[in-house]
């Protein structure tokens, strides 16, 4: 378990925007994952995806890690932002774009 948490932590540390999702960005395996990918593509933001269907440990581990029972889950700048509903709400209210821009502008890391 500690290993899974470490793996998750290092993924969110090393990527400005991470989507833990079912499937990948070309072939999402769930409507909510697909909708979330689409929002970040609309914003033109580079993002990393982790397909939880490929790794049972991550699939369960991320739920404990975030204290969040559902997939997809979005991390921006190492911080848990929420699932599909929250991302959509932030996108529609115009709050998501500045969050994304700020994250991408901060530091020179990946």
């Amino acid at each position: 378990m500690a290993d899974v948490a470490e793996k998750i932590q290092s993924t969110i540390n090393n990527n400005k925007i991470v989507l833990f999702m079912k499937g990948n960005r070309s072939f999402p395996q769930c409507g909510f994952s697909a909708a979330t990918v689409e929002i970040f593509e609309q914003l033109g933001a580079p993002f990393e995806t982790v397909d939880v269907l490929q790794d049972m440990e991550i699939r369960e581990g991320i739920k404990r890690f975030s204290n969040w029972p559902t997939i997809p889950q979005v991390y921006i700048n190492g911080k848990f932002v929420g699932g599909c509903d929250i991302v959509r709400e932030l996108y529609e209210s115009g709050e998501l774009e500045p969050m994304v821009k700020q994250a991408l502008a901060a530091g020179a890391g990946k």
Partner: protein, 81 residues
């Protein structure tokens, strides 16, 4: 699992909340919920959704495949009308 069962669980877990749940596929596992509560005042969306998930407990993990959530304070709800 039906919509009214979910409504009761959320209302029990968040006293005073107004809850409306709809089964949008009719299959008993995809739901849409609007929850209006004073207790959401000053809370982030993540904290609000976590409060709802906590109210549902194991049912959320085991029996509900998808739950679309709208969490509003009474003031926000009034503005939507």
């Amino acid at each position: 699992m039906d919509a009214s069962e979910i409504e009761h669980m959320i209302a029990n877990g968040i006293p005073g909340a107004r809850v409306e749940v709809r089964d949008y596929t009719g299959g008993g596992d995809h739901f849409e919920a609007v929850v209006v509560s004073e207790s959401f005042e000053g809370k982030t969306l993540v904290e609000r959704h976590q409060a709802v998930y906590n109210a549902l407990g194991d049912a959320m993990r085991a029996r509900v495949h998808a739950l679309t959530l709208k969490t509003l304070t009474p003031a926000q709800h009034a503005n939507r009308r």
